[in-house]
Amino acid sequence: MSNTPSDHIVSSYDDEIMQLAASIAEMGGAVETAISDAVDALLKVDHATAREILAADAKIDDMQRDVDDMAVSMIARRQPMAADLRMIIASIHVANDLERVGDMAKTICRRTLQLDGARLSPKFYNGLRHMTDLTLRQLKDAIDVYTSRDITNAIAVCERDAEIDALYVSLFRELLTYMMEDPRNITQCTHLLLAGKSLERAGDHATNIVEAAYYLKTGKNLAVLLDEQRSKG
């Protein structure tokens, strides 16, 4: 059970809840852009853009701190209960996950800076590009589930994480093949592989965000629910 924020007796409480939600949405947008731009910079071996994204990560970290500060202040002043309490706790979790996704973008940028100026062969990075598309879709859907408080798609989004995991395994095999074909590919392929790992982990954070949305809406733990469903077969 959850309420719309716009009916507290104290209206400034509603304003704060809305502001917290807006901060999360803004942070989500910033993180999606960071991942998308980071992969673009990697594939183009664009050092200048990679450095820009690295610098911009500080802003995402600031946003997380702001969400934490807001949440702590609300808990201290409002003594939130039930759906309000869950909303604030979920915000702390989601901001943390988004910040971690921001770190994944940063890791990808560091890979880019490790590569020398040579262009990457598209043959190497088609798999990674596909994985990026999936991860970005996953992030977007997770943030949508969270901001809309509509959990109809929550389970579907969570289960789609398996596709990213599978894609990572096949990317690993594919890049390993290129490395075995020609040891001169090892440097480039290793960096691409590690970038793939970062995307895979970003996908896991997207799942966490959906779980936070599910908790916010129902007070129940989605991961536990899915485990129960699986054990029942």
């Binding site: 059970m1 309420n3 007796i9 104290v10 409002r78 209960m81 039930a82 007070g219």
Partner: protein
């Protein structure tokens, strides 16, 4: 509501023995229907808090449990309330004896205009529970100790109880209530007139007392209900809307009215 009521009894049974069982309780003040069909089970040796907006009937319901409403003209109670499976509204039950078993602490500390000692000794004396000075001394001391007041008053037991601070007076009232060795302790907003320190001391005391007593507390502070009670019942407009483990009521209530009240949407 019926579906919820069924759930409630399941949740209650999980806590073990029921000390008090109220079934279809109705209370009327003249024509006003103050309590509407309330059924609830109260677990033994635990704290149950009653919450709800002013005028929702929580205090009225609390006062049914030791028949304090009998003293109000025009007040009528229907339905049954049992204490250890005995109907407390049975004609054979003496309300005075009942109130020795079901003690009460009120919102405003109300010590008798007597000495600290006599405040505590009064109940046991009139109920013939103590004989001689030594026995009385011992009961006064043990009651004051259990109420966490002994150390502060042991050197001035003969001074008037009304000379104590608000928090001390309230603990004196608790000592007075537990001196008759009741089984149930009813507390009607026991901390609303106290400062945060005195409140914390009373809350600590409630936590200790629940080892031996069944406690029902009416409170307007939801944080207090969340802190001190194992179960919480939410009343609204004379009805029991929802009851269950305190943690569930405050993190994930089932009923929208409960949610609206505890999150500050209805008052």
């Amino acid at each position: 509501m019926e579906a919820v009521a069924k759930d409630i009894s399941v949740a209650t049974d999980a806590f073990g023995g029921n000390k008090i069982e109220a079934t279809n309780v109705q209370v009327y003040y003249g024509d006003a229907h103050a309590i509407k069909d309330v059924s609830v089970k109260i677990s033994e040796r635990s704290v149950t808090s009653f919450i709800g907006p002013s005028g929702c009937g929580k205090s009225t319901f609390l006062r049914c449990i030791n028949r304090m409403n009998d003293t109000i003209d025009g007040c009528r109670v229907d339905g049954t309330i049992t204490l250890d499976n005995e109907d407390i509204y049975d004609k054979r039950v003496d309300p005075v004896q009942l109130r020795a078993r079901v003690g009460m602490v009120f919102q405003k500390p109300n010590p008798f205009p007597k000495s600290i000692y006599d405040n505590v000794a009064y109940g046991p004396r009139i109920h013939g529970m103590v004989r001689g000075k030594d026995e009385t001394d011992e009961l006064v001391q043990s009651s004051l100790k259990r109420a966490g007041l002994w150390e502060e008053v042991k050197d001035r037991l003969l001074e008037p109880g009304t000379g104590l601070s608000g928090g001390q007076q309230q603990r004196l009232c608790i000592a007075r209530a537990i001196a008759t060795r009741p089984e149930v302790l009813l507390m009607d907003e026991p901390c609303s007139a106290l400062d945060p320190i005195a409140t914390a001391i009373i809350e600590e005391l409630i936590d200790e007392l629940r080892e031996n007593f069944t406690i029902c507390i009416v409170t307007h502070s939801m944080q207090q209900a969340a802190r001190v009670s194992q179960k919480t019942a939410f009343f609204h407009l004379g009805k029991l809307i929802e009851e269950g483990p305190t943690e569930e009521i405050f993190t994930n209530p089932r009923d929208k009215k409960t949610q609206d009240y505890i999150t500050g949407r209805i008052g």
